[in-house]
């Protein structure tokens, strides 16, 4: 046993120092972060950021685009090769100006999450020369209390910007976030787990193991017109609340505005393109033609423009045939959107 124990220690040391070298990047990132792995454990974001940092250093990249956002930036319901980042790279290559794109958008991410990702990028020493961020009308409406303004990364925000976290602590608690771990667990998660390779890569290996036993993912990229029952589904409260026509609060009292300003402060020296996510004008006609909603879209655009940032109002810019539902797009829709974003990015930056 004593000899076995010695060997166990040797094997564990090999794992500790060698695991990072044998985990392929594709297990965590394939045109975008692998959502299934991220859902299992959000700390996988740190693994992805380290891999990105390594690539930037290795290839000496100075001009690249980082996409931040929600499921639209992530490009659901399509697959990795039907996503905005993929199309942006493809189109730029076709135009003879190849562009490296890192897509860090993830479903359900809110502005608080985007701000936290930016803090993480800064902490890892990853520059953000060009950023693309998608916003949604739903993000500006009253959160009562769902969805929380930090959906995934409230623990990280608490560590990286405790003041901002404290400011919205009650809101996060009301929305089922801000769960306090026991002291030892919190210390372990913060100071030990990130340095133990097996724990660090745990969700990545688990995701890969589970994928061996599960059916290959099928991406339902049909257009919304081919989905019976979708219109009825979208009458649900969780969807309708995003189109709330009540006047949006454009002061710092609104967590959306608070975190947007934080993001703007943090990226003052970068080229950042914000865009208001396209919405299916036909499917959501009763909502998007509501005068209150229209007024909100106008006011949001005016507010964004007043901040002096590069802003595209794409709310009604895409043809309804390009949608898979109310806001998500078909692969062709994402290709068109990628083209629009690239076109805007290639224009001379505002000073």
């Amino acid at each position: 046993m004593k000899s076995s124990l010695k060997w166990v220690l040797i094997y564990l040391l090999v794992i500790q120092f060698g695991l990072g070298y044998v985990i392929p990047t594709s297990w965590t990132y394939d045109q975008r972060i692998r959502y299934e792995v991220f859902k299992e454990d959000t700390t996988v974001l740190d693994v992805v950021l380290d891999q990105i940092k390594a690539r930037i250093d290795r290839e000496d990249l100075t001009d690249y685009v980082i996409i931040l956002g929600d499921s639209v930036g992530y490009s659901g319901p399509g697959g990795p090769d039907q996503s905005i980042g993929y199309y942006m790279s493809q189109i730029s290559r076709e135009q003879g100006r190849p562009l490296t794109v890192f897509n860090l958008a993830l479903p359900a991410m809110q502005t608080g999450d985007l701000y936290t990702v930016l803090l993480k990028l800064r902490a890892k020493g990853i520059a953000t020369p060009r950023l693309v961020i998608n916003l949604l009308h739903a993000g500006f409406v009253v959160r009562a209390p769902y969805p929380p303004v930090v959906f995934w990364l409230d623990n990280d925000l608490k560590q990286m910007d405790p003041d901002s976290w404290s400011r919205f602590r009650q809101h996060l608690i009301d929305a089922g976030r801000a769960k306090e771990d026991p002291l030892l667990t919190a210390l372990f998660q913060r100071y030990i787990a990130p340095h133990v390779s097996l724990l660090r890569y745990r969700p990545v290996i688990k995701g890969e193991l589970m994928s061996l036993f599960s059916a290959r993912e099928v991406y339902d990229t049909r257009a919304w017109t081919e989905k019976p029952g979708l219109a009825e589904l979208l009458q649900g409260y969780e969807y309708q609340i995003g189109f709330n026509p009540a006047p949006v609060d454009l002061t710092e009292q609104n967590p959306q505005i608070y975190f947007l300003q934080k993001i703007m402060d943090l990226t003052r020296n970068d080229q950042v393109l914000y865009y208001l996510t396209p919405t299916n004008q036909e499917l959501m006609k009763p909502n998007v033609t509501n005068p209150g909603y229209r007024e909100n879209v106008t006011r949001i655009s005016e507010w964004m423009t007043a901040q002096g940032v590069d802003y595209l109002d794409l709310e009604s810019a895409l043809d309804p045939s390009l949608f898979a539902d109310h806001v998500h797009l078909t692969p062709e829709g994402y290709r068109v959107l990628a083209g629009r974003l690239l076109e805007q990015l290639n224009q001379p930056a505002k000073q």
């Binding site: 000899s3 124990l5 454990d41 002291l183 745990r202 193991l209």
Partner: protein, 471 residues
């Protein structure tokens, strides 16, 4: 504090280190560890537990000295049961009173947070006091020794329910125990087996079973069977995992805790099932409920009635809901029917088939009956449970889809795993010798390392709690 949480592993490691390094202070070391462990669930609950444990101890001393023994026994047992009743059954009682009498009471106001392990420590307290009263057990030598026995952190929350006569002598003698590396290693082995059962099997099967039970009354006949089978394995792997880990930690401290499971789904009848499932609870129910109710001393009918009452109480002990009571009644009736069948038919009629055929047939039938019982245990309400059972028994609304067939293959695989566990457990010493003798150290170490890696990888970050923690 879950067994697979960093704080538990740290607490155990420090306690073990001090326990073996400072042999003369083992009792206080364990007493403090128990306090720290229980305090993690809240200081008020710790104080309550300390108070009840202290009272029980002093009562036991007085009972042993012959000071109003019967009165103190009643007060002691009544106090412990009242404590359990207040926390566990008040909201249930108010809900049902409200349904019957419409008093305008809001049951939610009576919903108290259940102190962890209360059901288990209450049964240990009651057994201890009754054993002292009966003269089967001498009281612990001191309150601190009693506290180590009643609140031993490895088994406090979900058993095994230890008896004073099994555990107190081990604590009384532990200062003289010498560290045995083989035993310590066996403890680690059991702990890892339990950990693997929990994180690899139970936590993976759980969400699959949930998927079927969450469909409620809309579930089809085949889906109901699949959901119930999956839950049967989920609860077995979950609960036996805790017991394996508890017994394993016991060995690390040099204690022999009572085994709680012996591959129960290989039972051929209800009596055997309860000798293999949650063994310490079954024994408790037998010694402190069934036998005092008359046992088999007053004829067949009284014996069967006592079985049904005892099993119903066992069901009610699991949870304050009609579904748990129904689960208890179901098992009570099953046991009573089996007793009747054995006396009236099986002992008189000899079937012209080989014994192994009847054995496997009875295992198959018993497993189906147990699975039906689990529906009451798991379903969200009686209506759903009854609908599911009806669909299972009538085989109505069957959907023989490819997915369902895959699930059935999974169920079969889980049963084979159960068989493999039986095979392994009954031969574990010989297998271990073979393993040690024929495989070189580096290869064995590779297997140990892979087991650790697999357990770590498959563990959920959400740290799913053990099902029996809620009892």
């Amino acid at each position: 504090m879950l067994f697979h949480s960093p704080e538990f592993i740290l607490l155990s490691a420090i306690t073990l280190l001090l326990f073996w390094r400072l042999p003369r202070t083992r009792t206080p070391i364990l007493a403090v560890a128990n306090i720290l462990f229980y305090a993690a669930s809240g200081w008020p609950y710790l104080l309550l537990f300390l108070a009840i444990a202290s009272l029980t101890y002093w009562f036991s001393v007085l009972i042993h000295r012959g000071v109003r023994p019967k009165l103190l026994l009643w007060i002691g047992v009544g106090g412990s049961l009242l404590n359990l009743a207040i926390f566990k059954y008040t909201a249930f009682a108010v809900t049902n009173l409200e349904r019957l009498l419409h008093l305008g009471l809001d049951p939610k106001l009576f919903q108290l947070l259940l102190p962890v392990g209360i059901s288990f420590y209450t049964f240990q307290l009651v057994a201890y006091l009754v054993d002292v009263y009966r003269g089967d057990l001498k009281p612990a030598r001191s309150l601190i020794e009693f506290w180590v026995f009643i609140a031993f952190f490895a088994q406090l929350i979900a058993g095994p329910i230890m008896r004073g006569k099994d555990f107190l002598p081990q604590i009384a003698e532990h200062d003289g125990h010498r560290f045995q590396f083989e035993r310590f290693k066996y403890g680690i082995f059991l702990f890892l087996i339990g950990l693997s059962k929990k994180v690899i099997l139970s936590d993976t099967i759980g969400p699959l079973a949930d998927k079927f039970f969450n469909q409620g009354a809309a579930v089809g006949g085949l889906e109901a069977w699949i959901g119930a089978y999956l839950f049967a394995f989920q609860i077995y792997f979950d609960f036996s995992a805790y017991s394996d880990m508890a017994v394993g930690i016991g060995h690390m401290f040099g204690y022999q805790l009572t085994d709680n499971f012996k591959t129960p789904y290989l039972s051929g009848n209800p009596a055997e099932f309860w000798r293999r499932w949650h063994i310490t609870l079954s024994r408790w129910i037998r010694d402190y409920v069934y036998i005092p109710l008359g046992g088999s001393r007053h004829g067949e009918f009284r014996a069967m009635a006592a079985i049904v009452v005892a099993m119903t109480l066992s069901g009610f002990w699991h949870g304050a809901a009609w579904t748990f009571i129904a689960w208890g009644i179901f098992h009570g009736l099953l046991s009573a029917f089996h007793r009747l069948w054995t006396r009236q038919v099986a002992e008189r009629v000899k079937l012209p088939v080989p014994a192994w055929v009847t054995r496997w047939l009875s295992i198959f039938l018993m497993f189906q009956a147990t699975t039906i019982g689990w529906v009451f245990f798991r379903a969200n309400g009686m209506t759903v449970a009854l609908t599911m059972v009806k669909r299972m028994l009538t085989l109505s609304d069957l959907h023989l889809t490819r997915t369902n067939l895959t699930y059935l293959v999974l169920v079969a695989a889980l049963f084979l795993l159960h068989l493999a566990e039986f095979w392994f457990r009954t031969r574990q010493r010989a297998l271990y010798e073979t393993w040690r003798r024929w495989l070189p150290g580096p290869v064995r170490a590779l297997a140990y390392t892979l087991a650790v890696v697999l357990a770590v990888v498959m563990a959920s970050t959400k740290q799913m709690t053990f099902i029996y923690f809620r009892f």
